[in-house]
């Protein structure tokens, strides 16, 4: 099956276990992580993950909902967007 990439963004106050929790949720849904980059912008934890959702066991809406819910539990803003939008905006 064709690789379908999505980009996950995690923004919020830094704490222990953010990467663990997000990765755990992704592993549970069979979403493979290609790349992770994270940084602290003015004390705000910012993480961006590039993932492959083509073999995900749940559909996109459910995955998005689960990530949003995890974000609420952890006091973070977690979102997922399909990669095409970044390609459209930043690549000719």
């Amino acid at each position: 099956m064709e690789v379908q990439k999505a980009i996950i963004s995690v923004i919020g106050i830094d704490r222990v276990g953010i990467i663990y929790s997000v990765s755990k949720l992704l592993a549970e849904n069979n979403v493979n992580i290609f790349d992770i980059s994270q940084t602290l912008l003015k004390d705000i934890f910012t993480m961006i993950m590039i993932v492959d959702i083509s073999n995900s066991t749940v559909d996109f809406d459910t995955l998005k909902h689960n990530l949003n819910k995890l974000g609420e539990q952890m006091g973070l803003k977690i979102d997922i967007q399909k990669e095409d939008i970044f390609r459209a905006m930043h690549r000719l």
């Binding site: 980009i7 963004s9 923004i11 790349d35 980059s37 940084t39 910012t46 961006i48 590039i50 996109f60 809406d61 998005k64 803003k77 979102d79 997922i80 967007q81 399909k82 095409d84 939008i85 970044f86 459209a88 905006m89 930043h90 690549r91």
Partner: protein, 455 residues
Amino acid sequence: MGFAFNEIEETIRMVQSEKLDIRTITMGISLRDCTGNSYEEISNKIYDKITKKAENLVKVANDLEAEFGIPIVNKRISVTPIAIVADKLKSKEEFVNVAKTLDAAAKAVGVNFIGGYSALVHKGFTDGDLHLIDSIPEALAATERVCSSVNVATTKAGINMDAVAIMGKIVKKTAMLTKENDGIGAAKLVVFCNAPEDNPFMAGAFHGIGEGECVINVGVSGPGVVFAALSKLDNQADFGQISETIKKTSFKITRAGELIGRLAAKRLNTSFGILDLSLAPTPEIGDSIANILEAMGLSKCGTHGTTAALALLNDAVKKGGVMASSYVGGLSGAFIPVSEDSGMISAVEAGAISLEKLEAMTCVCSVGLDMIAIPGDTPEETISAIIADEMAIGMINKKTTAVRVIPAPGKKVGDHIEFGGLLGHAPIMKVNNFSSEIFVKRGGRIPAPLHSLNN
């Protein structure tokens, strides 16, 4: 190819804090095959066609919104001007019933507005046109989602001053019939010069007769993003740099719009029509055209220099956008409505901007006098004269102009009207109190202009 951290971060920031959105996905549906001899026949055909074609419009738009994380604020429908479809109807009551059908169809598919309760009368009226125009006040008062527009002038035909005279009355009556809601009916009615056939923005959207069976037109918008980009420039940046910054931003938001528009068309089995490169404000703080002009160095929108700033903005948005999409159409200019823009409202309240300055600003951008509240006792001839002035600007400058004024029933200068939502609120603006009655009552047509000896 991978993405740099800052590219991803920029897109996320544009959406989350700078209010980048797709302002509208508008499905244009031809109703040319829905004519008939009776109101029942026409209405049944219209209802069936709209509910079939647009059945999945809202769902597809919602899916795209979730997948790409960019809000799609409005899902709308535009249809063939109803005066053409229902030209055979013989009374205004029958036309009002057609409007109710449109409203019911819009509700059934879940769109918030349906445009096309329209007539094109720049050169003359058919009987159907006259019945439709006559029915507009009742039609807009009796429906919730129907939007109406009347094209009364073009560069090639001149200005139909009989239509201009009638529209002054119609605007006033429409406001009166919706007086319990501050005249909201008039907010759903636009008078045009050179109306575009593929404009996805309400209230002036209709599916032109040169259009295909069913198309998806998209309106992108991003005043917040443009404002944020300009705010990062220092006071020493020259106009070349300002223009460059707007172009780059416009390019990116246009590309986002094109992607969403093409995907929407594909999933709905229709064709992709156009992308409208307009910057459209919302009443939210930070999503204002006036603030962009102020970011160029004007202390308040409306002061001297505002027209020049708007000209630069409009041109730069088009230059950036045209590079990003090959199918640009619609209005493609900055919207400068008063009630829908927090910066404009503030400028009116501060006394920085007048109706006259707004009129001057419309010479350099599309749209025209938009969402402007005027005193409820403004004579209908004065409203017609305001329309005539704006039509003349469009006619002579070969561009689209429009008038959407709200003579707020019972209100006077200093009062406010409140619509809520995207329509916002507006302070009542002063109009010139000297009469234009004799001028408006002459009737006939102002001839089309000569375009060789330009000045």
